[in-house]
């Protein structure tokens, strides 16, 4: 009976829209198997992804775990005010944004260059081999990669120091992981090492979709290898590039977490700590849930604003959009 009523209510709502399927009791009965196969998943996602948003209210309270949710003291925007006065938070915000932009730019430039170069390889076997090897690090966890980075950069027989000393670029081994000024660069380079091959996949797919006739026509017009790259290949992957760019701008507050958390020790903390680590530090280690939640909200809000901005810019430019 309850179902019946809901169905009627839905029916009324749907009736206004000419496009939607009409929901009638009959269709619901007919589609009962589809409903049984999907509504539990709907409830599941509501619980695990939507219900926790309720917790955002904590940011406006002075949350004490001992008390019930409604007995908490409401403090308005006090937590946010504290955040913007906290030098550590400002510093972490700077680190997050900087590392994220470094990663963004490096990963786009290197992926496109590698895709263009891979595309020029005519020997299929060699090309496959390069691709297979270059995808591999993507599947390794950040813990493993961080361990590898630490080994490679170590002052006692780390390969990076050995090679640089042998080449005469530096005189004596540098302790890369204990000086803040190198940290962003290390994170950027590690990201490239891990994701470079993987990032090329989509571009290579887009390149194969380019009409070969365009290359022939360009060739007839006298375009050489580089002119073809510039005038045919690059415009051919522009749409893919824009969609990916918009997606990553939505992730501008994600500078990565694990490498900073695992390698950011003592002396480099000023350059390595990100907002995520700030959240962990205050929320999980010091039980200051309200402040940590406020920091988390700040991060989400910036991300959402950036996503909409990017989406709008893409719309203006007449490119494909995400939402």
């Amino acid at each position: 009976m309850a179902n019946n009523v809901t169905a009627l209510a839905d029916n009324k709502l749907q009736g206004k829209k000419m496009t939607g399927h009409k929901i009638t009791w009959n269709t619901l009965v007919k589609q009962k198997q589809l409903i049984f196969m999907s509504v539990p998943m709907l409830i599941y996602i509501l619980i695990f992804s939507y219900v926790p948003i309720w917790g955002w209210l904590m940011a406006f309270q002075n949350y004490k775990p001992a008390k019930g949710f409604f007995e908490q003291k409401w403090v308005g925007l006090q937590n946010f005010k504290y955040l913007f006065k906290d030098d550590n938070f400002i510093r972490d915000f700077r680190n997050t944004i900087s590392m994220s932009f470094i990663n963004l730019i490096l990963s786009y430039v290197t992926a496109i260059v590698l895709a263009l170069l891979l595309n020029e390889i005519k020997n299929i076997f060699f090309k496959r081999t390069v691709q297979t090897i270059s995808y591999l690090p993507h599947f390794l966890s950040w813990v493993i990669v961080t361990g590898i980075v630490a080994t490679c950069l170590s002052t006692e027989g780390g390969i990076v120091n050995i090679v640089l000393v042998k080449l005469g670029i530096i005189n004596s081994p540098i302790n890369w992981l204990s000086e803040g000024k190198y940290f962003w660069g290390i994170v950027g380079a590690t990201n490239v090492w891990k994701e470079l091959g993987w990032n090329t996949i989509i571009y290579l797919g887009a390149i194969t979709a380019i009409d070969p006739a365009l290359y022939e026509a360009a060739g007839l017009d006298g375009a050489g290898r580089f002119k073809k790259m510039w005038h045919v290949t690059l415009p051919g992957i522009k749409a893919t590039f824009v969609v990916l760019l918009i997606m990553s701008i939505g992730h501008v507050m994600e500078a990565g977490f694990e490498i900073q958390y695992l390698l950011g020790k003592g002396p480099v903390l000023d350059w390595s700590e990100t907002i995520d680590i700030y959240v962990i530090k205050y929320g999980i280690n010091q039980f200051n849930y309200s402040l940590a939640t406020a920091a988390g909200i700040f991060k989400s809000v910036i991300a959402i604003i950036m996503l909409f901005l990017a989406n709008n810019v893409a719309k203006r430019l007449g490119e494909e959009r995400l939402i």
Partner: protein
Amino acid sequence: MINQRKPVRIGDVVFNTFNFVFMATLMIVTLYPFLNTLAISFNNGVDTLRGGIYLWPREFSLQNYKAIFIGGNVFHAFLVSVERTVLSTLANLFLTTMLSFTLSRKEYVFRKPITIIFVLTMYFNAGIIPNYFLIKNLHLLNSFWVYVLPSMIAAFNMIVIRTFIIGIPESFVESARIDGAGDFRIFMQVIFPLCKPVLATIALFVAVGAWNTWFDTFLYCSSKQNLSTLQYELMKLLSSTQNFNSNPALAAGVGANSQTADTMVTSLSIRAAITIVAAVPIIVVYPFLQRYFVVGLNVGGVKE
């Protein structure tokens, strides 16, 4: 333009040579760290401290692996990792495919709203602390199920599978329906088996994700040693070795049972061995699934 045209033979040779050298360097830079770690993991721990291990162990030794696998926490963590990976993958494959099937049916009345509710989850996340409270309120803290339950369906995978199902000719479904099959039977007996190629991709994504994560162990199960995972053990080892200098005393606590074997291992070599143990399953499975994931990724690129 025409007069710029010239036979660029020399240019081609230079370019191709450059390209070859570049690719070769790329492969070396990608592979060397693994091979080096592999060599260290099979080398005598104390000897490694003298430096100079590159691609081949100097004093071959299985001590590091023994220290990990005999009676230690690491072996148990390995089993937990395997268990969570298998369960997560199975749950994800079945549930996500079933959901994707319903959302691929054009006649399904709730198709639009459910799709939107799922897709939105790709763009926002409640954050670490609210999620922690959710897990706490669901009484999943320090429970094995926290590894499986919160990540059973991912919107991105749903889109990939749904795109694949939409590509399956409608006649398969229609003929099954004429034979009297209901939606559930159509899914189980017709659609699910046809999805094998895309499921290989998704299985790879999910399994790799489940195998590689340590954050949920850290956040939700850190006080229970018997729920520790391999990556978490590796992470603890990494963050405890201050400045990554090798410290034999520390390794004794991490590696294993407190046998005399510990004098032979150092945290550097234990770390190398755990790295290899954590990486090997992926390196073994990877070549078999490789041909699928490129396809899957390109399908995922097709938007709504």
